[in-house]
């Protein structure tokens, strides 16, 4: 019972702070589930991100379902998933009611402007902290840099890059 409550509070918090969508929220998820509660290891956290990339659904929702199940079975998965979307939905309902007044308010605009550098910092931090886990030797660094170059300079689809790195891993990174 206690663990379900903890799951609920943690993912409610993650949901309410996940501005900007996607990778910027990773440090928040990491902070809660790896550092604070130790529900999964850092390596498993990176695996969850990888799984989230190749399956549908937002990363926050995917990690909620995964960690919820990992910690407390199906009830945990349900509670964590519900928690991560419920906070934002309540806010969205309020914001829609305030509609025009909200989006044109200079204070809201100010908050969003303030958020930009924070999101950039959080994404940079994710990249660094996940690189520490993922780069375990020369091969992994080379593969990572190659993947990065392809993503930046070509239009190769990210899913193809994920598939290629999976293949390289299976062939060369065993044992």
């Amino acid at each position: 019972m206690m663990i379900l409550l903890q799951l609920f509070v943690s993912f409610l918090k993650i949901g309410l702070f996940s501005f900007g969508g996607g990778y910027a929220m990773l440090p928040l998820i990491q902070d809660e589930i790896v550092r604070l509660h130790g529900w999964v290891t850092q390596a498993n956290f990176v695996d969850i991100i990888a799984i989230a990339q190749i399956t549908p659904g937002p990363i926050a929702v995917n990690s909620a379902t995964f960690v919820g199940y990992h910690v407390a079975g199906v009830p945990g998965a349900v509670i964590a998933t519900f928690a991560v979307v419920s906070g934002p939905l309540v806010l969205a309902a309020i914001v829609v009611r305030l509609a025009d007044r909200f989006s044109s308010s200079y204070l809201v605009q100010g908050a969003l402007t303030g958020l930009r550098p924070a999101l950039l910092a959080l994404i940079a931090y994710s990249a660094i902290s996940i690189a520490r886990t993922s780069f375990t030797g020369v091969v992994t660094v080379l593969v990572g840099v190659g993947a990065f170059a392809l993503l930046i300079f070509t239009r190769v689809h990210p899913l193809i890059i994920l598939g290629a790195t999976a293949l390289i891993g299976g062939l060369f990174l065993g044992g």
Partner: protein, 232 residues
């Protein structure tokens, strides 16, 4: 006799109409659920990819919303935290069929990823110990770093102001070296943004009332004019 039949017909018509209305509302909710359930399978690669997909469903195919209303909705949901796909589904569904419509749409869009991840999580422990799978994940983890770094570069290109970079670097240093919680960082930057906007507004005269938009990024012609809700 004929009067009675007529009356009967009328009540029956009334009933049919009432039932039809209920039926339409039910149908609409069911249809919303199914449409967003289908969309839920296509949210690979981030919520923004869903914006045009949802647009096609609710604007072009079903004419539930006008394009203008749809984009107003998208703009609003982006200033709220949370997964974009889920928020958009909720707000759009709510506009189309009330609160229950919103809840049904949000559940629809979440359900596919919930089910898929649950199946993976259930089997994760057993297949993760297979050496090949572990090796495959070692490969994929490198791509995860690349994806995140690339997203960062894209974001940095978009927002090129030097000041933003300086603040971002300071934020990064705070997390990396001072162990500042990422939650605290987000709060601090939001607070700083709000204070800056407030101070600027006061300095610029403070003649305009609280809720008018910043003339700099609104339409400069009528920075503080009357509310523009087109009520006739």
């Amino acid at each position: 006799m004929s009067l009675q039949v007529e009356n009967e017909c009328r009540t029956m018509n009334g009933l049919a109409a009432a039932a039809g209305k209920d039926h339409i509302a039910m149908n609409r909710r069911l249809s919303l659920f199914l449409r967003f359930l289908r969309l839920g399978f296509f949210t690979i690669g981030g919520g923004y990819a869903m914006v045009p997909l949802i647009e096609r469903e609710v604007v072009d195919d079903s004419h539930w919303l006008t394009r203008e209303d749809y984009y107003k909705t998208i703009l609003l949901t982006q200033s709220v935290p949370g997964p974009i796909a889920v928020n958009t589904a909720f707000v759009v569904g709510r506009q189309i069929a009330g609160l229950s419509g919103g809840l049904v749409s949000a559940s629809g869009v979440v359900l596919p990823s919930f089910a898929i991840i649950l199946v993976i999580a259930i089997n994760f422990a057993s297949f993760h110990n297979v050496p090949v799978v572990e090796a495959v994940f070692r490969g994929i983890r490198t791509a995860v770093v690349a994806l995140i770094a690339a997203a960062g570069v894209r974001l940095a290109r978009e927002r090129i102001e030097l000041f933003t970079f300086v603040l971002a670097a300071a934020g990064l240093a705070a997390i990396l070296f001072l162990n500042v919680s990422p939650f605290l960082l987000v709060l601090a930057f939001i607070a700083a943004g709000i204070s800056r906007a407030y101070i600027r507004q006061r300095r610029s005269g403070g003649t305009s009332s609280r809720d008018t938009g910043n003339p700099a990024d609104g339409n400069p012609a009528d920075g503080q004019s009357e509310p523009e809700d087109g009520a006739p």
